[in-house]
Symmetry: C2
Subunit: 226 residues, 2 copies
């Protein structure tokens, strides 16, 4: 499948590398290709600058937001939460029509220092905001409750975490689940329609708090069902 | 230990029976002892009327909210979420001074039908509301993310769920953790101060939604740490 990813951060890069490894065609979109290639400082958690990373992952295409939006049959949003609707605008809303759009983002407000504050109100989770912003797209909220490395390699020593998702379109959810299964996800907990993104985003705040308190980032929720 | 429990619902009764079994002295408090004894209809999930249940659990004392509040060295709040501060008022705020108060409640609004809506805003979780209401008590938010039967018998076929707690007082949390360990809880995930009750209450909405969707109530979260 052709997959467009918006965002060159650790989530975008980690997903891109894995998806290419799985045989998909991937284009990462960025605000400015020239600036992304010119960066020399390492990213979050010591990840290498994009150019260095790209040298090791040459199959991943790099383009503008608009090019990645056009390219993808499925589009993955991997931007900073608060920057996401703007990135969609730059990519061109038309490029999202009818497509499965996977929203991995979280409404985090870093303006008051660490740990970040929750920046969504009940009824206006990022998942809902994005679905309203591109009503003809089929938004699936997913992957927002784990870090990038767990997304592409979910199995933990303590067990298999659950894949928590929300979205209005059942077919879109199925398509995303197939992709996630290729990455090793074993079980899906479907939270229901996109309005339930709120609970997945709220759960993540607990995840974030735990991470900052313990400097630990590979934790993942499982819902013990029996 | 002497434990007072406010609320004669399924949570209050299930905790009372288990705590007595563990050798604690327990008094359940109710708004009206006479009305509680007079009830003949079964409770939630087909639980027997209080009198019938009490015949099988004669060691559990029954009293008013105030009597249970006086009795307990530790007090467990097991009322409907929205009725909790009122129950505390009836029990007499003085009876909570300096005590560990375990808040198992959730801010659920049943007025618009099922599933219930979330009735707390960010910054005013029930845990926080209750701590503000009885500032001299040491409120520990706990047990709100599981049903009553899992509270007293946490082990699941799929593993041990985590005990998620929040509260301002470390000693109070330790005391509660000791009690929970007696019930079989293996690992604690401390969410931090009482303001983090919000995330535990929000997580529970996901739990509630899953329950209503699947008519399943014994599910419990685990945070896979490694």
């Amino acid at each position: 499948m052709k997959i467009g990813i918006l965002g060159t951060g650790i989530v975008g890069k980690t997903l891109a590398a894995k998806l290419v490894e799985l045989g998909h065609e991937v284009m990462i979109g960025t605000r400015s290709v020239a600036e992304t290639i010119a960066k020399t400082e390492p990213g979050m958690m010591g990840s290498p600058p994009f150019k260095e990373w790209h040298a090791g992952n040459p199959k991943v295409k790099l383009g503008t937001f608009a090019e990645a939006g056009q390219f993808g049959e499925m589009i993955i949003l991997a931007t900073h939460g608060v920057a996401t609707t703007n990135a969609i605008d730059q990519a061109g809303k038309n490029n999202f029509k009818g497509k499965v759009v996977v929203d991995t983002t979280n409404p985090l407000d870093f303006s008051q220092g660490m740990p970040p504050k929750f920046a969504a109100a009940l009824g206006s989770s990022l998942g809902e905001q994005i679905q309203k912003h591109i009503p003809e797209a089929k938004v699936v909220k997913a992957f927002n409750t784990v870090n990038a490395f767990v997304m592409v390699s979910p199995k933990r020593e303590e067990g298999d975490p659950d894949l928590f998702i929300a979205g209005n379109d059942e077919t879109a959810k199925s398509k995303f689940i197939s992709l996630a299964e290729q990455m090793g996800w074993k079980r899906v907990i479907d939270a229901g329609d996109i309005s339930h993104s709120y609970w997945l985003e709220a759960m993540t705040m607990f995840w974030v708090y735990y991470g900052f308190k313990n400097n630990h980032w590979s934790h993942a929720f499982k819902l013990l069902l029996k």
